[in-house]
Symmetry: C2
């Protein structure tokens, strides 16, 4: 069984394949009657257009490449949903590559996406990524690139994220306003911009309230649940609140604190980050920060589409999406 091509349709209709091509592309330089005949014959023969060939000729793939640490996990899969939504509205397809938090895989993913002639790339860097050297290939080939969430600083980079500094500031301020003064911060790896921003927001809130920023209150880790569980132990008796840079570590900390008899939020308040679905199921439910992930995907994709049309647009533009503090059971009501 051979693949049907426009030539088969042409032959069977005794017209030229270029006419068939035009008909299938709904060109206005072909009679309505011819169009109809072609379309019907195409249907009859079970013709499927070979997009690869078309793209080779048109020098564009209509594919957007997305490099993410991993697709599992609520946040990234939501972002991808947003990307896909905008992409498909505009006739684009999405090619997903996972770095699995490894620099080597990130490099290879980029190479592959380039080799597949994607028209542009969306990326959120891995935990191991320290600089953007491997992204410069894209720049050299004028391949548009837009970062989202975990972005690399750099003059020419386009990025969409939330205002991490402010979100962290708001969360910490809320803890302070509700009466907490000894607030620990579970921080992420500081090579990642969003985590330094969150740390900075935390510090600013403390400073504004004239609370000393204590080194022993700031604990950096990969933010796995177990990190939260372990790292909070030495200071468990000296704090009245925890602000964590993600929900997993927050939940780990909550588990440990509950295990030693602390009452959440009466003894210790906790705020996480990311609004993972599990945060609604912990006991008590976890206050956290929602990052409007779907909207982030939409926006990033929109910017990328703009840059595919015109490479120079949005250069050095950093978009901050609004985030929202979601108050649940792990924080006290405001003191008044």
């Amino acid at each position: 069984m051979q693949k049907i091509t426009i030539h088969d349709i042409a032959k069977s209709l005794k017209i030229d394949s270029s006419t068939v091509s035009r008909a299938l592309n709904d060109s206005d330089r072909v009679t309505a009657k011819t169009k109809e005949k072609v379309i019907q014959k195409a249907e009859e023969l079970g013709y499927r257009r070979n997009i690869l060939a078309a793209n080779l000729r048109k020098q564009q793939s209509m594919i957007i490449g997305v490099v993410v640490p991993k697709i599992s996990g609520n946040f990234f899969s939501n972002v991808i949903s947003g990307v896909e939504e905008v992409a498909s509205e505009n006739g684009y397809h999405v090619f997903i590559a996972q770095s699995l938090e490894e620099l080597e895989r990130e490099k290879k993913s980029l190479d592959n996406l380039v080799a597949y002639q994607v028209d542009g790339i969306l990326a959120s860097i891995s935990m191991e990524t320290k600089n953007g050297r491997h992204f410069s290939v894209l720049g050299r080939n004028k391949m548009p690139l837009v970062f989202f969430d975990r972005y690399l600083c750099g003059d020419e980079n386009t990025a969409v994220s939330i205002n991490d500094e402010e979100s962290a500031y708001n969360a910490t301020k809320h803890l302070i306003d509700s009466g907490c003064t000894k607030i620990a911060h579970l921080a992420g790896k500081q090579n990642i911009k969003i985590y330094t921003d969150r740390l900075n927001g935390y510090k600013r809130a403390l400073q504004e309230a004239n609370i000393d920023v204590l080194n022993q209150h700031i604990i950096t880790s990969p933010l796995l649940e177990n990190d939260g569980f372990q790292k909070i132990q030495p200071i468990a008796d000296k704090i009245d609140a925890v602000f964590s840079s993600n929900d997993h570590a927050a939940i780990g900390a909550m588990k440990y604190l509950k295990s030693i008899g602390k009452s959440i939020p009466n003894d210790i308040s906790i705020i996480g980050f990311s609004n993972e679905p599990i945060s609604e199921y912990t006991e008590p439910t976890l206050s956290t920060i929602d990052q409007s992930s779907i909207e982030m995907g939409r926006k990033a994709c929109q910017l990328l589409l703009d840059r595919i049309k015109n490479y120079e647009t949005h250069l050095n533009e950093k978009i901050m999406l609004p985030s929202s503090l979601i108050l649940r059971g792990s924080t006290k009501g405001l003191k008044n």
Copy 2:
């Protein structure tokens, strides 16, 4: 800035592009010296191979298409991880398309994957899918297809899933063995094979224990959390156990039952299905069935790769992967 092709390398080296092509493909019909020169020049010019063009020529894309209801959610993203693992080990790439549980999108996804000349397709059908008519296009074009999890019956279909009937039987039997006799079943839409299988396993366990299968104990729904919450209400006082075809509905039921003062598992035991991450965070933690999702992805991809090599292999093969009953806090210890 132009894209670099093998012709550019050839010109700059004053050799023919076919030699360049061979060199880059590590053909043994080219001198080691030439190879070296070519590879070095390629590096120097920043050459990136155009896989699309190569694939067009070779009549294969090295792409595997995956159609899933949605990539968010633990189960499917795990399956995809497994698929990607095996695919990339074999030089293949994965193109993901979401049906979002809509039949129309599923059709369109298939069409698109075919148009992109994927070498084979992995699919798990949407909730709306009632028959495989739109999959027959693939068969006509000898495009290999392997179903996973939610598969369509049919003589020639290849599928990988767990033994849903047996898993459900085991779960129900466990409830019976622990002393429960009035066991409700939150069932999924019965057009999906795995949900009828689970219902059948439930029934078989009851029958073997000489417990009557009561219609009012079997409640069919889309299995959202709220479905569990709502649908369990009329029978809440007449049951001592719930076996749900997924974790979300089980959690909904748990929420309602707790809200009316039932003690879990003392008054009512609950078992879910799928081992979603949240099942570890409910209070009490939820007993459930693990579907070895990553392994399912690996296996399905392996079968597909076999079928890409030889279309006739694994025809009409249904592989059942082992599943395991995970006992947590929502079920009682065995009665002895």
